[in-house]
């Protein structure tokens, strides 16, 4: 056992235990979503870096002692495992991206009757509202069930997800969870990211509409439609979510916030140290390059979510408030049977039409 291996084991143990504890504690005491997302993202990056560092460490020793020695066997087994996990992660990322692309193609083909406050309306009877990639989608069934004010809240929530590219971060987290065979630490981090992204979007929606109470009624209306008999778990989930709507800035809250940031920093520093230690036997530059790569990818994925929103100059086509005249959604010809439209409406295949005529 050299210093590198001990450091790797220590980091792995810390990653498995520390982040879930900090997360749970901070959630009870009202830390900000941004801090918790940063913690979860760094945890994910660390979880991905640990096995890679281990393989590098073991293969460094195996190069000295031969392929049939204990380090050699460990290196080969580790390499296989890392390759499988990376393949699974990549495959999941591709699946997700394909799904997003298909959705945006479908939306473009269906040519929704009107851009409704920056979301695409899907002609589906079930109440659905979601953001996939950079687009937000709302189903017709949802709009029919909600009051205009509630529609505004839901749309603002989904647009926040779409505009801040929350999906990109979550996609990576979910893909890593899948790739790591649902490792508890990784799964916890990706659940935390999903939860905190929802909180961020809720806050943005409440801010945009100016009335946090609307979120409560919208959630209750939708919950009543999707699950007529809410379970106790649903009830507590709803309560927790509503509790987190307003950002508290008490002294205790600030201490919690600092503690979370400190834990994030510690895990990040530990991960970087482990990478450098595992590589230092070869060359220090390789270690530095690996660290830079890790930091750059973390920055790319968390920046759109965590930076402060710049003034609306960046998105001139989407007003902060949806104009009053578009607030009531009236779409009489498709309201009863959302799937019904004039038959023979050939909205797609414009290429071939051009070719034939």
């Amino acid at each position: 056992m050299d210093a590198g291996e001990i450091a790797i084991l220590a980091l792995a143990a810390a990653l498995a235990v520390l982040p879930p504890l900090v997360d749970r504690w901070a959630l009870r005491h009202g830390a900000s979503p941004q801090a918790l997302i940063a913690l979860a993202s760094v945890t994910l990056a660390g979880s991905a870096a640990v096995p890679v560092a281990f393989v590098i460490c073991a293969s460094g020793q195996a190069a000295h002692e031969g392929a049939t020695s204990a380090p050699g066997v460990a290196a080969v087994a580790g390499l296989l495992l890392v390759a499988i996990a990376a393949g699974r992660t990549l495959a999941r990322v591709i699946t997700i991206r394909r799904r997003w692309k298909a959705l945006s193609h479908i939306a473009a083909t269906l040519q929704p009757p009107a851009e409704y406050g920056g979301v695409q309306i899907l002609p589906v009877a079930e109440p659905l509202a979601f953001a996939a990639g950079g687009d937000a989608y709302v189903s017709q069934g949802l709009l029919e069930r909600l009051s205009p004010q509630e529609q505004l809240v839901v749309i603002a929530h989904e647009r926040e997800h779409a505009q801040r590219r929350h999906g990109r971060l979550l996609a990576l987290a979910r893909a890593l969870t899948h790739g790591s065979f649902d490792l508890p630490a990784v799964r916890h981090a990706s659940t935390a990211i999903a939860r905190e992204l929802d909180t961020l979007a809720d806050r943005a929606a409440a801010h945009r509409v100016g009335d946090p109470h609307t979120i409560r009624t919208a959630l209750q209306t939708l919950a009543a439609h999707t699950a007529p008999t809410p379970t106790a778990q649903d009830e507590t989930g709803l309560r927790h979510r509503l509790e987190r709507l307003d950002a508290r800035t008490t002294t205790a809250g600030r201490i919690v916030e600092d503690a979370v940031r400190l834990a994030t920093l510690a895990i990040g520093a530990g991960t970087l140290a482990v990478i450098c230690l595992s590589i230092h036997t070869r060359t220090i530059w390789l270690g530095a390059a690996a660290c830079a790569l890790l930091l750059a990818s973390l920055y790319t994925f968390t920046r759109p979510t965590l930076t402060r929103r710049r003034p609306s100059r960046t998105t001139p086509q989407t007003p902060r408030r949806i104009p009053a005249e578009t607030r009531t959604f009236a779409h009489p010809q498709t309201s009863a049977v959302p799937d019904a439209r004039p038959a023979g409406l050939r909205t797609c295949a414009p290429r071939s039409r051009r070719r034939v005529s």
Binding site: R98, I106, T109, V124, A129, H161, D339, C348, A349
Partner: protein
């Protein structure tokens, strides 16, 4: 021969199958294999090639065939709009799986979407 896939009515298809489906959607009446072979743009394809393409599209549920005399004639399984709605439901069914990457308003409340039987498209 470019094997790039592209989207037709929300379905991701290999280029040739996409060409055939677009042709059938734009055609006023059902077409036989020979007619499709005639109308396909680009280099002339073998009869068996076109026949295989149509069979693959049928396997995907995008085209149907009827007898005309003793040859088959092919037509799209629905209007372009119906095919698109069908694709939408396929995507949405996939979205409900445990790690669907979709950020929903109801995410923490677990609103589930009832499964639709595969071929009810409108």
């Amino acid at each position: 021969m470019s094997e790039r896939r592209r989207y037709v009515c929300g379905h991701r298809l290999p280029a040739l199958e996409a060409d055939v489906l677009e042709l059938l959607l734009a055609a006023p009446a059902p077409m036989t294999v020979a007619e499709v072979q005639q109308a396909l743009p680009g280099a002339r394809r073998a009869h068996t090639t076109v026949s295989t393409l149509l069979t693959r599209l049928a396997d995907r549920g995008l085209v149907t065939r009827q007898h005309r005399g003793h040859i088959y004639e092919w037509s799209p399984a629905g209007t372009a709009h119906e095919l698109t709605i069908n694709a939408l439901h396929q995507v949405l069914d996939g979205v409900e799986d445990p790690d669907a990457v979709v950020l929903g308003f109801l995410d923490s409340l677990r609103g589930t979407r009832p499964r639709r039987p595969p071929d009810t498209n409108g």
